[in-house]
Symmetry: C2
Subunit: 201 residues, 2 copies
Amino acid sequence: MDKQFKINAFRTGLAQFITFEESEWEIFSQYLSFSTLKKKDHFVVEGKVCDCIGFIIQGAVTHYHVKDGQEITGYFCFENELVSAYKSFLRRIPSTNFIQALEETELVLIAYADLQKMLNHPMLALKMERFGRLVAEYYICCYEDRVTAFVTQSPEERYTTLEKTAKDIFQRVPQHFIANFLGITPVSLSRIRKRTLILKD
Amino acid sequence: MDKQFKINAFRTGLAQFITFEESEWEIFSQYLSFSTLKKKDHFVVEGKVCDCIGFIIQGAVTHYHVKDGQEITGYFCFENELVSAYKSFLRRIPSTNFIQALEETELVLIAYADLQKMLNHPMLALKMERFGRLVAEYYICCYEDRVTAFVTQSPEERYTTLEKTAKDIFQRVPQHFIANFLGITPVSLSRIRKRTLILKD
DNA sequence: TGGAAACGTTAACAAAAGATAAGGATTAAA
DNA sequence: TTTAATCCTTATCTTTTGTTAACGTTTCCA
């Protein structure tokens, strides 16, 4: 995939958070790098500090933990979303989970060191601080909903909500990943689907 | 409680995020206001836009949802922590939950409108953007752990972890609130406690 | 293209959690 | 101080979930 295309797509995608003036973009874009993950390639590995934030131009990734030798999927990201092991990235500590490409995935990357340089760059500092703030605030809102769902809803309710609000995920992600995401086992999700399907008639 | 004391405590407490120069503090502190909540007073009510971020000088609050007429506690905050219904505050939408004082609680407040003024204040803008970013990043890290716990751990494991890492909560918060926080019913938590107590001998 | 791996469903059983109610202890309030 | 409210525990029963394993499909490679 062409770099210029990726850069443009990135700029468009960032508009949900912030827009750069030409002069700012010229500087900002010099700090970007690019990466293509093949299916099953890892973006982050447990035990290593996550060094980049990625923006997905094309493709999809999963976040998963390994517990007792089992992989448990906690999250997915698709096109036009940022991806990183944020706690690891922000605190510079080893990641506790893996991030892996579900399909061939095209990314634009911002390295931690480069982000720091931009935060210290007189022309960019204010905008980058704001950019960081808005991204972080965005995730807070997402997380708030997610935690609320775990606290106030049953697994079946969480499934029903997901099925209503993000039906496309089911076309794109194996069902047992979605089960993990909902905090239940694949077998249990299969049962819930059967139950709720009958009720729909 | 004396305002000057509260302001000083606030400044000290903010040091976990950011430190202000004298000149900055003079401006910043003019935007602060103060509040004392009596036990059971609400900081935020469902259906209303949350207008402030509070910093707890003294006291404790709970976040709770009402579902089918039942109160379900999702979170607690204590001294030296910020409190707000963030999604409501940030997006200017009605809150989906209540925030209520568990004890008499002393707060320093930043109103949304004032925060915007500070973000536009030439002397303060950069620092406030950074402040906002760091606070939001802090919560992302908290939320990441919380969601991970829901996805990868059983209720019993979540209880055991909490009991290890934040035992003091049990001295300060009714147990059925903690049950909600863990995503289970009070009856179930009581059983888990009995189970794990026996295993300890 | 043939064999292996991955995936979803189902069954059977065990374990855990939810719902409801009752009882006792503590705390708060009238 | 007496009454009421709050809180935790326990018991019983129902429902749901977890666990393990089997089966048939589909997908993926080698």
